[in-house]
Amino acid sequence: MNYQQMAVPPRSAHLWRYTPWPRIHPTKPEELPQADSIDFTFDSFAAEPFQRNGQSADIARVFLEESGGSCHRLIIDGRGETVHIHARASGHIAVGHLDLIVKGEATILLHLSGEAGWCGIHITGQVKANSHLGFGFINELDPNTKMLRCEDWGVDRDASLESATLSVGGFNCKSDLRANLNGTGASIRQSVTAHGQGARHDDHHIEIHHLHGHTNSDLVTNAACSGSSHYVATGLLTIAEGANGSDAGQVFRNLLLSEKARAEAIPELEVLADDVSAAHGAASAPIDASQLHYLMSRGLSPEESESMIVNGFLIDAFSNLQNGELTEQMRTRLTVHLECELKR
């Protein structure tokens, strides 16, 4: 596939409805600028270079592949280690690719920061059979950075992936996160916490595909939006024909903190198997008056009460995770972010 021969996807497509491709492209959609490399540092385990396979037909992935940037593969045969990867995006346009192959048990925290004008990151990963990975993505980019993030995960038989996102950086962000449950007993738990401030735009498209029976997925997104920020969460959950005994749930919750803040939450289900459990829910609302009253009746001022409710709401997205280390790390980063916000 060649990027410049690809048509710009229409806004009618589920994936591009709220953040169309021209809006997230770094320059003009017909251009393919050559990117600088995102600078990755690994605190343990040596990464190796890798060749991308060029098999994707998705415009964002093709664009990232053809625009260059850095490529690293990390193979972990883990015994419960926690690996921190720091990714720094600098310059006008920065792109990076990371391929993760995990056997055994590990927790990986990817800290993305930097002041690049545009940042593109593509993460591919394979959680091998009977292995367990906790993966945390922490977006702490400069508030003026535009970001495109793509992830493609495969989870093998009896393996589990716990994926957590903390999205607090960048000005205009689009994330397209996809996971395939490739074998019986595979599971994914996914949590997304997003904090919208000012005019920040943040769009998460999350696809989970149950390709085999007796697979489980659980997705929670919590977004708090203030100012004139806009948060979008679109989900696509598919359960393939014959994937009986699968259990899937998706919940999208948005907290609207100002009159101009907007949020969209659109879960979609496509179930082709007979004997499955699949549920989804979405809610967007201002702060609950009874919560506010309860905290104020305990002596907290209206501002303190609102802050406590928002912090709790954001932290609560990580409640569905079972990896204690991942949960703690994500909570800590969120708390640091919120404390910094309070001091501004």
Partner: protein, 243 residues
């Protein structure tokens, strides 16, 4: 301490309290009993400043000060406490964090960490609460009994001068009831207490000075502990004529 004078309260245009008078002094335990919808919880909520309730006429004074001058959090800081019938769930906020911030807000001088922990441990031991409560989210997934215990724990730590307890005994088993009553008795000598209840059984453990029967938004009869027994025995129909 609390003085309610000819109070009339509406909710969304519907009149609920229709001329209520009540005085509570320090060290007094008052009990209000009445049918569902009589206005008992409305009274507790309006005293605590719930925004859904509108005072259409009459006045409430706390320690000589008109309550309309005080916002909800200022009432709490002035020493008022409401144990909610249905406490709000606050996901993501750990009980320990919430208690510490709440105590720091209400007391003139926030206790030092070690002092607070000691106090907290003692109160939790008294209420037979496990320390794992502290890392749970406020009322999230709590049973009815656990919610009521957390309310009483807050009351013990906040040390109010006026405690309003809205059906704190509802849904409690005998052991939990005894524990909750112990908490009420602990603060009672130094505070005024207003207990709203449907049942006499809490009064086996807490000895009230006054029992009030409330019918259709007004107090129609006031007596001692024996009135609670009579209400439980005879119901409220015999008081309708007085309403």
């Amino acid at each position: 301490m609390l003085r309610v004078e000819n109070l009339h309260v509406s909710v969304e245009g519907t009149s609920i309290i229709k001329g209520l008078d009540l005085k509570i002094h320090r060290g007094e335990i008052h009990v209000i009993m009445g049918r569902n919808g009589a206005g008992k919880s409305t009274l507790a909520n309006v005293v605590m400043g719930h925004p859904a309730y509108e005072i259409t006429s009459g006045s409430i004074f706390f320690q000589g000060r008109p309550l309309e001058e005080l916002a909800v959090f200022e009432r709490a800081r002035a020493g008022m406490f409401l144990s909610f019938q249905y406490p709000a769930v606050i996901p993501g906020v750990q009980v320990g964090t919430f208690l510490k911030k709440s105590v720091a807000s209400v007391r003139d001088e926030p206790p030092k960490g070690r002092v607070f922990r000691k106090e907290l441990n003692a109160a939790m031991a008294q209420l037979e609460m496990d320390k794992s409560f502290l890392s749970r989210y406020v009322n999230d997934g709590f049973s009815g009994g656990e919610k009521k215990r957390l309310e009483i724990l807050q009351m013990l730590l906040l040390k109010p001068t006026l405690a309003l307890l809205d059906e704190t005994d509802s849904g409690l088993d005998i052991d939990a009831l005894r524990i909750v009553a112990k908490g009420i008795n602990q603060i009672a000598p130094e505070a005024g207490c207003l207990i709203i209840t449907h049942y006499q059984r809490l009064l086996d453990h807490v000895k009230p000075h006054f029992v009030h029967a409330m019918i259709d938004g007004v107090i129609v009869k006031t007596g001692g502990p024996e009135l609670a027994l009579e209400l439980e025995d005879r119901g409220y129909d015999w008081l309708d004529a007085a309403a």
